[in-house]
Amino acid sequence: MGQTLRVTVNGEGRSDEVEPRLLLVHYLRETCGLTGTHVGCDTSQCGACTVLLDGAAVKSCNMLALQADGAEITTIEGLAPEGGLHPLQTAFWENHGLQCGYCTPGFIMAAAALLAENHDPSDEEIGRGLEGNLCRCTGYVNIRKAVKAAAQAMREGAAAPIGG
């Protein structure tokens, strides 16, 4: 029953036979071995599974893998060049934007999409941009701070371009 999925993941072209019901998140985690993308709910509320699909943030547990056919996907592992850090990653680190770290890849990917469109988001715009992601540890204070810091770093040109 498998159908062919052709997709580019973190710059690497792939072709895999997948079952139609395979969720994109399971394709990324189990077929591609990219376990940085997490599953936190069944109903698309938590955003832990957020990846970039042709540059837009999407919830990979709320898509069939086959729906990504032909697309370019960026996961947290592919956001920065191997061994380097994206300004968002640096900012989350410097601003204590994470505690347990489970929601963090989803937040960083959603924030990457936000900053690609809005280089200087206000507090409210950050809230709207990240409304689809839940964090249980931080109270969000340092996540907001980290996104602002990353935006500033990227504006100041110290930054690599957004992945994906």
Binding site: L22, I76, F92, Q99, E131, L134, G139
Partner: protein, 781 residues
Amino acid sequence: MAVTQLIGARVQRREDPRLITGHGRFIEDHTLPGLTHLAVVRSPHPHALILGIDTTAARALPGVLAVLTAADFHKVLSGSMPVTPAFAPEKKYVPERFPIAEREVCFQGEPVAVVVANDRYLAADAADLVHVTYEPLPAVVDPEGAMSPGSPLVHTDGPDNIGWDMTYAGGDIDAAFSRAEVVVKERIIQQRLAPTAMETRGVMASYSPYSEDLSLWLSSQNPHFIRLFVSGAMGIPESRVRVVSPDVGGGFGSKISPYPEDYLVPAASKLLGRPVRWIETRTESVMTTIHGRGQVFTAEAAALRDGTLLGLRLTQVLDLGAYHGTFGAFQACACLMSGGVYRWEAISARTVGVLTNKVPTDPYRGAGRPEGTHLCERMVDRMADELGMDPAELRRKNFAREFPFVNNFGLTYDSGNYDGTLDRALELSDYQGWRQRQAAAREEGKLVGIGLSTWVEICGFGPSAATAGATGGIALVESAQIRFLPSGSVAAYVGTHAHGQGHDTTFSQLVAETLGVPLEAVDLRHGDTAEGPAFGYGTYGSRSLSVGGMALYTASQEILAKARKLAAHLLEASPDDLEFTAGAFTVRGNPQAKKTIQEVALASYGGNLPAGMEQGLEAVSHFDPPNFVWPFGAHVCVVEVDRETGAVEILSYTGVDDCGNVINPMIVEGQVQGGIAQSIAQALFEEVVYDGASGQLVTGTMLDYLVPTMNELPTPKLDRTVTPSPTNALGVKGIGEAGTIAASAAVINAVCEALRPLGIHHVDMPASPDRLWRLMQEAGR
């Protein structure tokens, strides 16, 4: 301990590089060759008899390896899941609990069968094909109703539904009330909450029939306890069970107690001879992972007209769920802490644990202390309202000021400065300014309220004398092991297990500072029972630093003692003549005569040792704290309630806390921010709802269980005062639960004050718009 180079520094977290790049290793990221996947068939009924289980269709599905029921598991599991005695109540009924139901299901989601398949998707399909025939029984939903003699039974073979019923007497309560000039009464509900760690639970097990040993990976706050429980139930020597808890995506208390799956997955591995993994779905999690709170309090407080508090009489009805949570009775500490930061003549607190046909309740961030604080702070506000006093003044009038302070139940608060945190909080929040703005807003008909919460917590569990009896024999002390390797690098093991608290960083700071080695030289390890001391006690109850950190500290001191002897031998001096600073021993008066601790470490593995000294430089230490620790603080919340819709907007939130000395202020602030958010979530958003008639869970997904997003939460203004604990050498207390203990009372006090002009005295949680609208409607009639 003074702030030195590393202690007190905002060191960036060492655990972050892997977590921000997607290289954390959570339970679902673990696999094994030949891994099989387990799915659980769960009862859709809150209460029913199992008449039959037809597994034919499920077994027939290609790729399904087994369908197992209670009869199968009895071959490899024995005994009842553990329940700590906690205290010796006047009455106690503890139903037996096997990890999988056999004859009767007593809560919705209770396991009835499991399916093991080659593929996770197939396992889910097969679980749907297991056909269970039930005879539904009446569901007991309301704990207060469950106490009445005519109530249906939660367990058909139980004597009644009363898990325990006991009264803590702290002074002569009748005498206190007999002098009362003012008495206020209230009924205060603590709704059930779902802890909702972002990572759900998960278990992977591999049993080897050849070496007869078991490896178990699971998302846990205390792997050593799981090893103890599972080895016992499976009859495997504890030394042949290895439990690894890898990166844990949050716990908040929900990953302390053992769960049915913690037994069923390894048992299935033993039955099948294959590695088995089960990952909880969110829907399973809301239904079957422990809930927190779930208590109804009735309380009355007595005072003199001048505001002198006299007595507090209360009853806590605690919704246990269908079985006692392993540490569920701990939540009765709400009673012991109900007096808060105040001097009372007497407190009498009755606690009744009541069984219901719901998932068990167990400790959830704060566990009893948020409930005690909320109750106390609400009653003090009710009293202030009744007396027409400013709530800050009433608090001040009754603060405990002499430390150590012994409360009505004989608990000794180590140190405190309640005026200090309150003063700073009032200043930082601009309390007086808000009072003026509130008056102006009320003139315009706006509903603005200011709420205070002056809180204290008992944490740092705990002294062996107090905890060994409560847990059934194992004192909640903590262990640590530190070893220098010949190259001078330091491996430090601790029995706590961080799951977001940043111990890799703070504990490394502590060890590096104490031993005088660079931070990079220290490797902090935890979460694997195969390494480090024999037993660890886990991370919960804001205990890790004040107990586990102290164990590291005392192990460091042992290392230094031995190193001093060896250094003296190497320098041909007397140990008493050596000074240890900045990681090196020098001979007093001769700074050229110097050995760094890393040089001493290398020498310790050599041949030139003092007579009688063994090779190596390592130490295992257990720290048994002489007392609990008692952090405290003052929070101020300002809200406006929309008179038309009942929506609450937080206009300002301020928290000033005191957790003694601080190792890493950045992490302390993060803990407080997160704790406040979780408590605001209780005050305004979250509630697990069961249908009152059917007992069916209504808020079964994250769509209906309202964990707030960034947009619903304020950015609190924070500050600290520092009042060290006199009971440990580091002078530290705990901070993990502080925000959660403090905030709900501040928010609800503010909401109640906002609604006071309408004649509303009390609001239960969550203070949702529809609830407030209904109250306003009733008040207007």
